[in-house]
Point group: C2
Chain length 98, copies 2
């Protein structure tokens, strides 16, 4: 199992619109092959910051299966315009399973 | 419930020593009041990067209860010398529970 981690800085004033768009977008990611679960959480110290944590079966389920899908076009359209700067995304694995 | 998130960049070559020190340090954090659960994971793209995720009942359980405790002195001694740069730590809350 792989954890995708994205720290999302949303343009100030757009937080509510982002949350509303995300509530639609999460239906897309949840339907992808290899998707296990996700959480979106809001930063206490920086109210326009969010963290998206997604568990995938394999890294390729995210980097190929999702990012090269038609559904990703829709995800992008819903969410990417909210980000400033555009987020770096990293993948993490359990220490014990390396 | 509050999620503490720390992205930990460990000095290159010190990864195994850090993991071994962390396996001792996790006993300390797990015994603190308000601690719920934690995960330490290793970054695939940057092998000397880790993410520490800790669930606490309240933010004060971490920022006051843990950081002002005697046990934190021990935690620091075990772990802080591995980090470069010294990590920023943020706290996140569920969107729906704000």
């Amino acid at each position: 199992m792989i954890l995708e981690v994205a720290i999302l800085d949303v343009k100030k004033g757009e937080e509510k619109n982002f949350e509303s768009a995300f509530s639609r977008a999460q239906i897309i990611i949840s339907s992808m092959e290899g998707y296990i679960s996700h959480q979106l959480k809001n930063c206490i110290e920086k109210p326009n910051r969010y963290i998206l944590l997604v568990n995938w079966e394999t890294i390729e389920n995210h980097t190929i299966g999702f990012r090269e899908s038609k559904q990703y076009q829709e995800w992008q359209k819903l969410l990417h315009h909210f980000y400033d700067p555009f987020p770096e995304v990293h993948h993490y694995t359990d220490i014990s399973s390396r």
